[in-house]
Symmetry: C2
Subunit: 295 residues, 2 copies
Amino acid sequence: MNTLSLQQFLDQEKRQIDDRLPHFIENLEAPSSLKKAMEYSLRAGGKRLRPMLLLATLHAFQKPFHLGYEVACAIEMIHTYSLIHDDLPAMDDDDLRRGLPTNHKVFGEAMAILAGDGLLTQSFQIISSLKSVDDITKIKLIQCISKAAGPEGMVGGQVADLEGEGKLLSVEELQEIHHHKTGDLLAVSVESGAILGKATEEVVHALGTFAKHLGLAFQIKDDILDVEGDEETIGKPVGSDEGNDKSTYPRILGMENAKDKLQFHLSAAKKCLYELDINHTLLLEITEYVGARSN
Amino acid sequence: MNTLSLQQFLDQEKRQIDDRLPHFIENLEAPSSLKKAMEYSLRAGGKRLRPMLLLATLHAFQKPFHLGYEVACAIEMIHTYSLIHDDLPAMDDDDLRRGLPTNHKVFGEAMAILAGDGLLTQSFQIISSLKSVDDITKIKLIQCISKAAGPEGMVGGQVADLEGEGKLLSVEELQEIHHHKTGDLLAVSVESGAILGKATEEVVHALGTFAKHLGLAFQIKDDILDVEGDEETIGKPVGSDEGNDKSTYPRILGMENAKDKLQFHLSAAKKCLYELDINHTLLLEITEYVGARSN
């Protein structure tokens, strides 16, 4: 397992997640229209960064990937619900997501709201029903994940983001938004891998700090790609942040300083890894990939 | 405890729930605007039927009410989230709820969506963090509640309800919608009380059946009140179902048959209670109250 390259890992495990996600929906006794809407956004793909982080963290504790598939899928369902709701006309009003029409464009607003609600709720159903995980671990996972996804985490970040629109934010305010809007769920993906890997609370916490730096790096890179990226590669119109009048790192700091800040958080993330006695190869490579990615 | 009258119970315990609900929000480290929106709908009151059912079930197992306050509040938060999302313009487009402007009318659509998301997520945070309940019980609660609230339960029922609008439904179709849209969360309130009361699985299941009959009775009574009720007492315009072109029991069955069906489900609910070896006084009185209520 130690010689697995990042590309092999991503190819192999992203496929596992892509294949498994629809199964959590298709057997539900629920209206077929609802299942279709939930599956549509789950299948719309993306990098599966959160599942990959969870699995790479499990790997860092020498645990097999299959131990993490269900929780990884549950977190991806929470991420997907948040995208569906963020894209709604009342929120960011986006027509495209990853190059495809957004959920409400295909299924209508009411169904999109309910598909999001359904994905969020089902994620807790999945975690609480895990077969090969003890109850103490399940409870720890639900505690961390509901906190990261809720008012003190992602939902709060989304509110702060909406309230910051059209204002010139300080870099501290922007960072606070991203910490919650994207950082908390990324962090809990890593923490969940560590919890499943039976890490001590101290190590879980240290890996959470790693993931928060990684999350900020990810967001800064996103902002940079929105200015410098290629429309077809990133799957959405270049310059859409500017059109939305959103605060971004390049706009607040200038492009050069934004790139410096990206490097700062990448270095800080790597430093966290070096200080831990774990098999950190994959996590390190993911960190480098986040800095180098073109989509 | 055995001589507690229904009115004493409702007065005393509804106040406990009303007083406790805002505390779950006010100490959160979240944007104050989000907390305000979440609190607004939690404070907007209502009968607190789900918490009362949970507490009355605990009472049936001779357990103290305080054992159930947190789970009762968590379920009320899920109910409240569902009302906020149901009222949205893309869904039922309601301006008033319990005589007050709906959440999106006060805080805007984006905030209403996020307040709902936040309440739903926070409910699982509350249950997973209970202090005086063992992990096995917490997991059982989260399994049942996430199933009842999710695609196979309430969210699925809401989808079926929206899809049934403008169609003439059969009474079986209408019943199926209500089973999920309102029945599942009512049933899980009772089941949660039984789980906290350490009932056997068989007894939990029997009480779930009781609650499903009660839930249908509640819905039929709602439909009847929408035709025959007093606008000020019920807190919404009389005849609003007709305006929405919704299928209702009186419309499908005629008023006389709808009233017979109400009596049938009230009797079936009471029969379930008589067959169990529990202290059923409060649950019985709640059942009678559901049939007799004027709002």
